[in-house]
């Protein structure tokens, strides 16, 4: 399974000034680094997303920092006030150097 694959969902259309939900699910194990392997008793190394950034037309809207306490295949929901048509982008990275981004379009009607 491709770690880091995700779906970003926003409404395709919005009214000017409307506050819309931005939702994203990403496939990632979100291993917190505090769990032990039940067979070997060894700590399982941390492997989780650390940061997500939400952009709208390349302007930074929100920064979300997270640790291994967020569930595997994490979900985030946040809001965005749409004043113009444009591109929603979420870029995200993990503690092992993985970096990805997803985009979606919203048009003002």
């Amino acid at each position: 399974m491709a770690i880091g694959a995700g779906i970003l969902r926003v409404p395709k259309e919005a009214k000017k000034g409307e506050i819309v939900k931005v939702q994203m699910v990403i496939t990632h194990p979100m291993e917190p680094g505090t769990r032990k392997d039940p067979q070997t008793g060894q700590l399982i190394p941390a492997y989780h997303l650390t940061k997500l950034e939400l952009f709208f037309n390349n302007k930074l809207v929100s920064v979300i920092d997270m640790g291994g306490g967020v569930s595997a295949n994490p979900f985030i929901g946040i809001t965005l006030k749409v004043e113009e048509s444009g591109t929603v982008k979420i870029s995200y990275e993990d503690n092992k150097g993985g970096k990805w981004e997803k985009t979606a379009e919203i048009s003002v009607v």
Binding site: T34, V63, F75, I78, L80, K81
Partner: protein, 148 residues
């Protein structure tokens, strides 16, 4: 008579008897939580007051601790808000996530799914731009599942 009604009602009665609420003491803040809050917020937990302006939603009982849905909302204008933190008192690492808001968010809203190792308080803390902190807390009982 009404054997069906009898069976139904007495079944409900018996079922009712099993719903006697458990005696869960409100979990007092763990020292690990206090450390985390001090480190990340720069204030101590005791200085943060609970406020009805922060609306934290989470299930009262979770049948799986692996995926507890949490959402935080507030009617405080987002222009006045700096950021949000989510903590789970009894987790090995109480800090879960934090969110930095800007006016472009339109409002204060954040939802995610979190892990809970055991029954615990979940806390959402908002930092306002004037430097003050507001908090909402809710206890989530994590139950054992399955047949072993």
């Amino acid at each position: 008579m009404d054997r069906r009604r009898f069976l139904l009602l007495s079944a409900l009665g018996i079922a009712g008897l099993t719903f006697v609420p458990g005696i869960f003491r409100p979990s007092f803040a763990s020292s690990k939580l206090e450390e985390d809050i001090q480190k990340r917020l720069g204030v101590s937990l005791s200085q943060i007051k609970e406020s009805a302006d922060v609306k934290l939603q989470a299930p009262t009982i979770a049948e799986s601790g692996a995926n507890v849905p949490v959402s935080v909302e507030s009617d405080i204008p987002v222009e006045k808000v700096d950021s949000l933190w989510i903590f789970v008192d009894n987790n090995p690492s109480p800090w879960i996530a934090d969110v930095k808001f800007t006016p472009m968010n339109g409002k204060v809203y954040f939802a995610t799914r979190i892990k809970m190792g055991q029954t615990s308080n979940v806390r959402a803390i908002l930092k306002l731009k004037d430097g003050s902190f507001l908090m909402a807390a809710k206890e989530v009982k994590v139950t054992v599942g399955g047949c072993g």
